[in-house]
Symmetry: C2
DNA sequence: AATCCCGATACCGCAACGGTATCTTTGCTG
DNA sequence: CAGCAAAGATACCGTTGCGGTATCGGGATT
């Protein structure tokens, strides 16, 4: 039977395109994943992955299942939230952009939990295609994300200003330089946000994108080994990196990209005492003279 | 973790309001269901059922989970169908109204499978609130259901005409009579379709409903022990009963209810060779002089 | 008070899950 | 082209947990 557990596994494999990395991300070993995929394949009567010596590629059916599984798991999460809400439980859903906000979120959530022990917290990791991390459709109550994006109806408080940088392979001709400008990167593959995403957000990142070619693979990918930045085959990311980069990668700041602002955000019309409290905690945590 | 298996179990329990009956319906024993519910309850941190000596009632949270689980399982089914469709597999989804159509569906599906071995078949059981069993929103390709309902855009072929009857407890004063009229039943509780359902369909059944009071419990319930009729605490159903009624129940035809027509139906604009083939098989199976 | 019925619990065998070790294949490389 | 490295598949194993039978406890009914 098609169980959610198998779908969780498959999503990890599909995103990593690699059984071993997926296993690491799931904190388990690789063989059960082989079995899980085979189980799904025999259950659905369909080949999901094209295995190779370098990893695994999605077949059309695999891609379909990846999309379906994502939404299904998301719907399951929402269902869970609605059920607990129906029981009178108070929940705060924190949306986080899949970059530095991840670790930030859990840290702030811990503080929040100390102050509001009875409120249960749910963290929803959104990918780069939605800078509001679901604020607009009620999928999140409060978000840790980045400006600029179309913020009408959204209240924001700036936490930190981060220069935008680029991640390079150590063997790159440009590696070793601390700063670069966009022109240095002309002609390289780049990441590109899909159409239909927030226009302001897209324009900001396309400022970088316009110098490069269109990418060949999927549009945005989050790399979990390095939660402090969005990497993609040695492409654009966000400084500062507090964690060390994986071996063989270096970092250079792009001097002509306007800085990206880490913010706490919420839908203005859904502002609540809990949301205010969380925003307050977040702003305090980043106040310069905190002592 | 909240797995689909647990939700399937919970849905059965919620509908039967009885662990034992749910176990029978799931072809398993009762103790694992106790465990499953407890597992869900601890996982969600919520009480789902109020247990009593006569069965189990849903708490508000339980009702919420019931709704969520239904849609989630449905979505999982659709997801599965879309994935196999993406692999180029051809699927025919047969919607069945939760009464006599159930058994009819599997029987016709068997014939259909013999004729089209490569087409995979999915049977979708719909409840009484949607006489089209999802034809309109693409949830089903072809339906075994009953007239009358609002059939604009829907093509139908009549398979059989069934008088409408009422199921009575053996200790009922009216039990033993073969025929009744609606007036005989004045003042009794009755089943009632929720607002927003197909108006023609609702009006038809409200013709019966109008003589009775409003029911107290949930609006429609399907009884699985008797797949040949919709029963509800000794309320209205559809003749003929080819299967014996459970002990303690009898059956009387309502002479002043217009008959209900068993039909095969499909969305006219989505008519396809497969749909035509299925309809043809269905009509042939019910032709009087078949020999 | 005795009985009945329902859900909960205890316990058991077995299927399935995840882990370790190893194999096969494939792409790369000297 | 031989050898190596890496990735997924397979074999096997200990443990978990699922579903089954037997039984218990507690309301409701008579």
């Amino acid at each position: 039977m098609m169980e959610l557990r198998l779908l969780r596994y498959f999503v990890a494999i599909a995103e990593e395109r690699h059984f071993g990395r997926a296993a690491a991300r799931l904190h388990m070993s690789q063989p059960p994943l082989s079995r899980a995929v085979k189980q799904l394949e025999t259950d659905l009567g369909v080949v999901l992955l094209r295995r190779s010596a370098t990893g695994a590629e999605l077949t059309p059916a695999g891609n379909a299942l990846y999309m379906e599984a994502r939404t299904l798991l998301e719907q399951a999460e929402q269902a869970r939230a609605r059920v607990t809400a129906a029981a009178g439980a108070v929940t705060l859903t924190i949306g986080t952009l899949a970059d530095s906000a991840g670790e930030t979120g859990t840290r702030l959530a811990a503080t929040f939990r100390r102050r509001h022990p009875k409120v249960s917290i749910r963290i929803r990791e959104a990918d780069f295609t939605d800078p509001t991390t679901g604020l607009r459709n009620g999928l999140a109550d409060v978000a840790l994300t980045r400006l600029p994006f179309d913020d009408i109806g959204i209240s924001t408080r700036v936490l930190r200003s981060d220069p935008v940088g680029v991640v390079l392979r150590a063997d790159d001709p440009l590696a070793g330089r601390d700063t670069l400008c966009l022109a240095d990167l002309a002609g390289r593959p780049w990441f590109q946000l899909p159409e239909g995403t927030d226009p302001v957000w897209r324009a900001y990142w396309n400022g970088a994108t316009s110098v490069g070619e269109r990418p060949a693979g999927p549009v945005v990918r989050t790399v979990n080994e390095c939660t402090q930045a969005v990497l993609w085959n040695g492409m654009v990311g966000i400084a500062p990196l507090t964690h060390a980069l994986p071996d063989g990668l270096t970092w250079a700041i792009l001097t002509d990209m306007p800085p990206s602002l880490l913010v706490v955000a919420w839908a203005t019309e859904h502002e609540s005492p809990l949301v205010r409290s969380f925003a307050h905690i977040a702003v305090n945590a980043y106040r310069p003279a905190q002592t």
